[in-house]
Symmetry: C2
Subunit: 353 residues, 2 copies
């Protein structure tokens, strides 16, 4: 019943302030005294005022839309359920604030100029950027476009850590890897290999670090003492977060180290490829080789055998990113100072270990 | 080497026309005499002129972006590989023309107003609309926004067929269904059930019609003569293009008709659900019940048993849609009048029949 909806004027009258002040408070702008803000918010609550987003966009020149850029080819975005889960969280959160999710698809890195032009073109109010690599041009594009941005994963480019305004959502990758490797050590495994993601992504680098940390706490494991032992022993292979990459890396590891008794894969997709490679070489899982994945995708529970893995709430992380951005833009009022979020992870033990 | 690239001026000089005329031809605007257009096109070809898209957008106020709207919840878009394949074709084609693919995700039908606002906001130059249902508000939104639009699938809303400007890409759904059912008849099957998609989508309705047509040509099949026999005999069940829907529909059919000896499912996903339901009831495939799917998704070849299905080139259909739209907008010069495209389909026989 739009005709009975309270207007901005009604809120202004109730709060005893100007229409402009109400508009500034409602749109989350700074520069309104705290007591005035509270008066307005009380009037908004009492009248049940809902800002009309079309009118809001006239006042603020907002588009009511958020761009999501995933720094991976379109083909991978649709093949890897990880992205679908993140987007589900983003979509749910944006939809609840009547904000349009605009997914900008990329075919290859040559498309980045075009992405930059679109971001700078005033078509969106902010961006969420996922799956960045160390030398990605996307962060500087976001900066040039002056769009508020929230990143998925700890940013790894030089200087990122010094930017006090930087917002991101990450999960505790080092801790996840430590939990995985300690579990393998507890199961008596002593030659533990690792399949990493692309090491120009902080998620992959942090998980590798956690692996080394856990082994450093168990001198004698992997045949050599200390954190660099695994590297020297050839127990580290790099994958690319795909099943095919995991299969290839596992095959390499078996060639170099036929006697390995466990493998920690930096994603469930890579673990599924590793399972395939192990079976192809006649290894029994977990009797001969124990396998741990990462992510706890739906498929981990039905894999053969069901996969021990590090659970992270991927959908929730997408939702948190959207929520941070909506607060930074002011679509949703920020009640506290905005800061990066690192979510906890936990090991889920199934029969692959 | 951008510094040696021929300019608009060079083309104008070569063709002996004004800069404005070249711009109008290059940008696909009407109102240029045919002989002038040809002169300009010859000069463009001779000099190898490539319009600069940034400059072009200044002239034409184009955004260099195309919106894709899939009239399904975000959740289904990412769960059904059909959409990923269509988007792959779209993305490849748009990227080749340096045009940005903007995927507008929908959580539920309440989000459509927002989609309409975004489309009307001047953020894109055209739209591709997929998976429309009969009463979808999207076509009228596209019309109100005055954006050039190409539809995926034959539009089914009232009056659509009378619009001479309407562009769509469809595959020959009736023929596909006829091929599937004739194949089952050739294999000696006489009680052939069908699992349809949602009948408010023309793809589902057309496949059901093809099923009836093939049976009408085989009096005596399904125990009753004529096209309406199957309906009367309860051999028609409606699914929703998902595996779960196919499983449910198959179970219903078996309850009503334990003696059925074949089923034609309107999509591979529904066929996979049907296989599950048949196995749960102890039916051997194809000995007891032969199964045909539709789409020929990658998974059809590895299903157990491998699935006989109707092949349509889904990625190519996505590419054709993008290509039609780029021509309608004038990003790519149209060499002939634009018209809807209906692509052929063919049956792929595997061991499920």
């Amino acid at each position: 019943m739009p005709e009975t909806r309270p207007t901005l004027e009604a809120v202004a009258a109730q709060a005893g302030v100007s229409r402009a002040t109400v508009s500034r408070v409602v749109n989350g702008f700074a520069g309104v005294r705290e007591e005035v803000r509270e008066k307005v918010q009380r009037a908004v609550a009492e009248l049940g005022y809902v800002p009309n987003s079309a009118a809001r966009s006239l006042v603020t020149r907002r588009t009511g839309a958020i761009a999501v850029v995933i720094a991976e080819p379109e083909r991978r975005v649709f093949a890897d359920p990880f992205f679908a889960q993140q987007l589900r969280g983003v979509s749910r959160e944006l939809s609840a604030s009547d904000t349009q999710l605009v997914l900008l698809l990329v075919e290859n890195t040559r498309d980045y100029d075009r992405i930059g032009r679109y971001l700078a073109g005033g078509h969106v109010d902010g961006t969420l950027m996922f799956s960045l690599h160390r030398d990605d041009p996307l962060p500087s594009m976001a900066a040039r476009s002056e769009l508020p941005t929230v990143f998925g994963g700890r940013p790894g480019w030089p200087g990122a850590e010094d930017d006090p305004e930087l917002l991101y959502v990450d999960s505790d990758n080092r801790d996840g890897a430590r939990q995985a490797v300690r579990h393998l050590l507890d199961r008596g495994r002593r030659r533990i290999a690792v399949i990493t993601g692309p090491l120009d992504q902080t998620s992959a680098a942090d998980r590798l670090e956690g692996y080394h940390e856990a082994l450093a706490g168990a001198p004698g494991a992997n045949g050599v003492p200390g954190a660099s032992g695994a590297q020297e022993a050839g127990l580290v292979a790099q994958g690319d977060f795909t099943a095919e990459g995991g299969e290839r890396a596992m095959t390499e590891l078996l060639d170099r180290h036929p006697g390995l008794d466990a493998v920690f894969a930096g994603s469930d997709l890579m673990a599924s490829g590793a399972l395939r490679a192990l079976r192809a070489r006649g290894r029994r899982i977990p009797e001969d080789v124990a396998v741990v994945g990462y992510d706890d995708m739906e498929s981990a529970a039905w894999s053969d055998p069901p996969l021990t893995t590090v659970h992270q709430d991927i959908e929730e992380m997408g939702g948190l990113m959207a929520s941070l951005l909506l607060r930074r833009i002011g679509v949703v009022p920020a009640v506290a100072e905005l800061a990066p979020v690192v979510t906890p992870v936990r090991l889920v033990v199934r029969s692959s270990t």
